[in-house]
Amino acid sequence: MSPDSTSNTTYREELREAMREALARDERVFLMGEDVGRYGGAFGVSLGLIDQFGPDRVRDTPLSESAFVGAGIGAAIAGMRPIVEIMTVNFSLLALDQILNNAATLLHMSGGQVAVPLVIRMTTGAGRRLAAQHSHSLEGWYAHIPGIRVLAPATLEDARYMLASALADPDPVLIFEHGSLYNLSGQLDTGCGPVDLDTAAIRRPGNDVSLITHGGSLGKTLQAADRLAEEGIDAEVIDLRTLRPLDDTTILGSVRRTHRAVVIDEGWRTAGLSAEVATRIAEQGFYDLDAPVERVCGAEVPTPYAAQLEEAALPQTDGIAAAARRTVG
């Protein structure tokens, strides 16, 4: 996955191509958000799309998160297929009422009459020195909400092929793009086809311990697995990729084979996504476990701004490998 002579694309480019395909395929699809037009998005994801599709379909909005998410809901209700970009997950908190109290509830509270086929994309995560108000990993919060689907693409293929499935979903879908992944480069596997949004993916098969992660922590977890392999520990790496609904079958199937599990989540530990995964393992796989479930999470502090402090506060390869060793030790 590192840049080399076989690299021909990046995560950012594949997200863009996915939107280009969606805009070309379906007139109901449009993109809106802050700086998505002329600027090409704060992280360059939509660069050039306004030239191809024009300012009606690639719309720069005022700095009004509640408004552009709420308007996205309205447009979805009216039959459009909006893609709303929120610059970062932190800014999505300004639209939380629209997401939770509106998008996620309208179908139920209208007796099934008002579906909201809305896709919301946003950047999540730390590691880029953006400090405590631009670095949250809140996808676990959103995974708490009934009525929506939550995705976290971590590979080039998921960046490219999840969007079409998300747009085809009749319910609101939130897509979390970890900021550290945009420059991820490599060769795209074009043969994998549309992504099934109900299944996790085994990124590295193994027999000794299940390392369960998603998003920006996937690369570090795969590195940890390589290191463990040198020590004779054969780790399996599971990329959850769909955070709601969680794919219990893949998670538990893996744990039943390896009998050990480490959950890696950049989000905070307490009441977080890692707690949910660990609880499901305890509920459904307790008698298959040979060791307590381990968790490697972000430190329970506001994300530091100083580079060395930020690094210390996030899950890193060493810590993941150490946790895996504890389960097999």
Binding site: Y39, L309, A312, P315, Q316
Partner: protein, 393 residues
């Protein structure tokens, strides 16, 4: 999605039954809508019927000095960021008059709520520039005591300080104090719900707060037309308080208008909105490249309205300052630059355990537990510190 959001007021409305309103807005935008100016871009002193000002030669030289030093400090900060000494910098280049004029209009007992770009206002409140750089370097959180100079910490979240300022002003009024609060924000922030709600609150509670909008024309890549169909100052009328647009590159006009607005607030008449019409000559922050979205011509046009050049022209024409003064300011500027360069490079990095500080005011068992785990983990490295060992947990 049939309603088009065309640029504000620059095309006739068609069949939406709002022609009158929109037509008026179009006319106002076409001309110069009630721009308060006391010093033209050519450095000529003009009068305004509502905003007179009487400044001494000493004060005029002081304003010039403030702006030059602020600009120099800003330039040094950009260079330091480029050299990797700061994580980020938000330049104020071009906005010196808006910031120095408004900052100098405040009294020591007034209270300032800045955004993250108010380095000039910080200067007028005697906040040590090194403290600003320490925050952007990441070696401290906050960096200064907000109550020492009545200058709140920088706010990164767009527009939210307008609400804090409103609440603070309500407290000031409750105390019966003879002081006002000033909240800075930008043209982009004017679209945030927080700002609209701050306007509502301040008006309803008659809070002594001045909303000071530096309309620098660009919210990252989006021009002001993407934020508002009417000039921003006109929004105040809908909330029930006065709004005024001032030439934000005219330090005298900004000083006069802000003084009046603060006096309006202090004297129990409630909030006021000041829109300082200015221009961000540099990038949004050091992560931004403005050549991607705006023209050199536009920048050149605004360069001809430079706030420092116009005051200098006036000072020279009136014989208020001579070569000795300019040389003195230049020397002071060099000294300031040297001081901040050296000061930044010598700032010690915080220890890794700093990440567990100030999560709760009185500590927390959860944080204590994590801290203990961390200490144990760090002790597994030879250096005893995970940061110097170059790896995380």
């Amino acid at each position: 999605m049939s309603v088009k959001s065309t640029a504000a007021g620059d095309s006739p409305a068609k069949g939406r039954g709002r022609t009158t309103t929109r037509g008026t807005a179009a006319k106002r935008r076409a001309g110069e809508p009630g721009l308060v100016q006391l010093l033209t871009p050519q450095g000529e002193r003009v009068e305004h019927p509502d905003y007179a000002i009487d400044v001494t030669p000493e004060e005029l030289r002081g304003l010039y000095r403030d702006m030059v030093l602020t600009r120099r400090f800003d330039a040094e900060a950009i260079t330091l960021q480029r050299q990797g000494e700061l994580g980020l910098w938000a330049s104020l280049l071009g906005q010196e008059a808006a910031q120095i004029g408004s900052g100098r209009a405040t009294r020591p007992d007034d209270y300032v709520f800045p955004t993250y770009r108010e380095h000039g206002v910080a200067w007028t409140r005697d906040v040590d520039p090194l403290n600003l750089l320490g925050m952007f370097r990441g070696v401290n959180h906050g960096g200064w005591d907000p109550n020492e100079n009545n200058f709140q910490l920088y706010t990164i979240v767009i527009g939210s300080q307008t609400l804090h300022a409103t609440g603070y002003a309500m407290g000031v009024a409750k105390d019966g104090a003879d002081a006002a609060v000033i909240a800075y924000f930008g043209d982009g922030a004017s679209s945030q719900g927080d700002v609209a709600e701050a306007f509502t609150f301040a008006a309803v509670y008659n809070a002594p707060v001045v909303f000071f909008c530096q309309n620098n024309q660009w919210a990252i890549s989006e021009p002001t037309e993407k934020q508002s169909r009417v000039p921003i100052y006109q929004r105040a009328a809908g909330f029930g308080f006065p709004g005024v647009r001032v030439d934000g590159n005219d330090v005298l006009a900004v000083l006069a208008v802000t003084r009046a607005a603060l006096e309006h607030a202090r004297s129990g008449q409630g909030p006021m909105l000041v829109e300082a019409f200015t221009y961000r000559m540099g990038a949004h922050t050091t992560t931004d490249d403005p050549t991607r979205y705006r023209s050199d011509e536009e920048r050149e046009e605004w360069a001809s309205k430079d706030p420092i050049a116009r005051l200098r022209t006036y000072l020279e024409r009136e014989g208020i300052a001579g070569e000795a003064f300019y040389a003195e300011v230049e020397a002071e500027s060099d000294a300031l630059a040297k001081r901040v360069r050296e000061g930044v490079r010598n700032m010690p990095n915080p220890g890794t355990m700093a990440i567990f500080e100030n999560v709760y005011a009185d500590g927390s068992s959860l944080v204590d537990e994590e801290r203990a785990q961390f200490v144990e983990y760090m002790s597994s490295f030879e250096s005893g510190d995970v940061a110097t060992a170059g790896t995380g947990h």
